[in-house]
């Protein structure tokens, strides 16, 4: 019993690492543009599919393939910002929600156009073994994904704390007008944050697809990442990196201990239920900044 709780917690942390990885992109976009993106899953899917196309049928070496995939993702992120999100700056929040949802749909159907409904095998990129301590197993690929998530988290934190662009992004998040008056092109900052989001989508897409295969359903993970972001607090990278594993653990434990009692399905619902409760108790997430509204 205790052992399986431990197992559940450890593999939950690992799964949560994946959620955090996907969620990073959402936070990056939100931090500078105040747009909550439902598209992150779609970007992930595009990363996975581009990676598949370059590594599989095109047969490029792994390094080159990954670099090209990331470049394609960056370009996609830029186009996304330029052609869909920039024109709707200033419209109500529903507009940005719907545009990002519509983009997610678009990516889903583009994914279907390219690879159909099936599953495309990926060349093995990550090690495929396990570590074990007693009964506790850790999959090496999940561990590696988790480590990459943590590294990216550290990189992002440093970037925001000390990087010039990171500073500009934080400034932009706060006050567009001031940042403009300082000679910073706000629209460029938006573009950069979309590029970064697309890059992180590409990375998570390749990582996920390498263990799972490229399939259109991958985009569904974006939704769960959104839950993680929301519970953690929209602009908080630490919140996200903390909440991802917590959601993973919750999910795992509810699958292990509640699912047999109710006939399954709770793993998918519990994160949302938790989110609902958190929203009721702490509306701006556990680590979010409360915005003061004035009339």
């Amino acid at each position: 019993m205790l052992m399986s709780v431990a197992e559940g917690i450890i593999s939950g942390i690992m799964i949560g690492g994946v959620y955090s990885l996907v969620a990073l992109g959402i936070v990056v976009v939100f931090k500078s543009t105040r747009v909550i993106t439902f598209t992150q899953g779609g970007l992930l899917l595009m990363g996975a599919i581009t990676g598949w196309a370059l590594l599989g049928p095109a047969g490029l070496p792994v390094g080159l393939g990954v670099v090209l995939t990331l470049a394609a993702c960056a370009f996609l992120g830029m186009c996304l910002d330029r052609f869909t999100l920039r024109p709707i700056i200033g419209q109500p929040i529903l507009a940005s929600i719907m545009v990002t949802i519509a983009l997610a749909w678009l990516f889903d159907s583009v994914g279907t156009l390219i690879i159909g409904g099936g599953l495309r095998p990926y060349p093995p990129l990550l090690p495929h073994g396990t570590y074990k301590w007693g009964r506790v197993y850790i999959s090496q690929s999940l561990l590696l994904q988790f480590i990459i998530a943590v590294l990216l988290f550290i990189a992002f934190t440093l970037f925001y704390k000390y990087g010039r662009l990171g500073l500009a992004m934080r400034g932009t998040a706060e006050d567009h007008t001031v940042v403009q008056s300082l000679g910073i092109k706000v629209t460029n900052i938006f573009s950069y944050s979309w590029v970064i989001a697309a890059l992180s989508g590409g990375v998570s897409g390749i990582l996920l697809a390498s263990t799972l295969g490229a399939t259109v359903g991958l985009s569904g993970i974006g939704m769960k990442a959104l839950v993680v972001v929301l519970i953690g607090g929209m602009e908080s990278i630490p919140g996200v990196i903390l909440m991802g594993p917590i959601i993973g653990i919750l999910e795992n434990l509810s699958i292990q201990f509640l699912d047999p009692l109710v006939g399954g399905g709770l793993g998918e619902v519990v994160p949302y239920a938790v989110m609902l409760i958190v929203l009721l108790v702490k509306p701006y997430g556990l680590f979010g900044l409360k915005r003061i509204e004035r009339i």
Partner: protein
């Protein structure tokens, strides 16, 4: 700017409040209703099915329009509330022998109450956060549809007896169409009038600025929940009518994608207008049908691509249309219609 037909002056409040002001208005209304209700006599069953699904969608979208378009509360859960209504009406009729109309009405009320429960977060949050909490409602309600097997039939769903009242059994495509249309018209009428009452104006005030509305003495909390109730009431009615139209309900009929589509319809049609919801629904449904008709043709002409290539187009079409509208005409089709109408009214003078 909303122009009144030339030469029409309102001399008393009754005239000022009238929806239909002039004789041509009334005549066109009567002609429209006449055409609408005699369609089954000379229309194909396909047309009737199309119009019936459009009618049901209009009821649900009208409800969402009250919540989102007027009240400013974003909801990504309308399909689940519709499902609640559908299940409630069927269960009430099958297990408790409710007559059809009573079951329908109770389903609306029940669905509205469920909506209020999930609308509670709206008291503390708004915008995107609310969107996410209604999304949670969608998933949680969906889980209940699927897992309360004893009541909802689980994945096997429920078979629905034909609705009947006043001695008519609604079992043919024709009279099912009439049933749907009656409720669609009622819903439109109700929505139109609701927006002209105190409630409607309060909702608009809350949408524009809820703090300001509060200062003006509007019970924001009450009205937000009321908006949720009304919206979900509409959804519940739509669901109940849908259940009796289609004759079978299962969890796959009330999905997240439908909920999002309803929002998309609202945007394409034009937020915050009764006509917008109607235009949007008709437009989007026609687009869907268009893709359904052309994709087999395209697949025949270009056999190299395979069937799912063209099948995937319909989602892409939806996505592109929603994006195009948001980018180029965020006020939706309704705005184009208003512009056209005013052009016509002012013709030949430009202003």
């Amino acid at each position: 700017m909303h122009w009144v037909p030339c030469g029409t002056y309102n001399v008393n409040y009754r005239q000022d409040f009238a929806i239909f002001r002039t004789k041509p208005h009334w005549i066109s209304l009567v002609v429209f209703l006449l055409i609408l209700f005699t369609l089954p006599f000379y229309c194909s069953r396909y047309m009737l099915a199309l119009l019936s699904t459009i009618g049901i969608t209009i009821i649900a979208v009208q409800g969402l329009g009250i919540l989102t378009g007027y009240g400013g509360q974003i909801s990504i859960g309308q399909a689940a509330f519709m499902g609640t209504g559908a299940y409630l009406s069927v269960i009430l009729m099958q297990r408790f022998d409710f007559p059809f109309l009573l079951a329908l009405f109770s389903a609306g009320i029940g669905s509205g109450l469920v909506g209020v429960v999930f609308g509670l977060p709206a008291l503390r949050i708004k915008g995107f956060y609310l969107a996410m909490s209604t999304l949670a409602a969608q998933l949680i309600l969906g889980w209940f549809f699927l897992h309360l097997r004893g009541i909802t039939g689980g994945t096997e769903g429920l078979h629905v007896e034909h609705a009947s009242f006043a001695g008519i059994t609604f079992n043919t495509p024709q009279n099912k169409y009439w049933l749907v249309m009656v409720f669609t018209l009622l819903a439109i009428f109700f929505a139109k009038n609701l927006m002209r009452t105190k409630v409607g104006r309060a909702l608009v005030a809350i949408r524009d600025n809820d703090l300001a509305a509060k200062v003006m003495g509007i019970e924001v909390a009450l009205y937000k929940l009321l908006a949720f109730f009304i919206s979900c009431f509409f959804a519940g009615i739509a669901g109940a009518v849908y259940a009796h139209y289609i004759g079978f309900i299962s969890p796959v009929q009330f999905t997240l994608q439908d909920s999002i589509l309803y929002l998309g319809i609202l945007i394409v049609g034009g937020m915050g207008s009764i006509m917008g919801a109607i235009f949007g629904t008709v437009f989007m449904k026609l687009i869907e049908e268009f893709v359904f008709v052309i994709s087999p043709m395209l697949a025949t002409w270009f056999p190299g691509f395979g069937a799912q290539f063209f099948a995937a187009l319909s989602l892409a079409f939806y996505a592109i249309i929603i994006i195009l509208f948001l980018v180029f005409e965020p006020r939706g089709i309704n705005h184009l219609w208003v512009v056209l109408k005013n052009r016509y009214r002012l013709y030949p003078f430009s202003h």
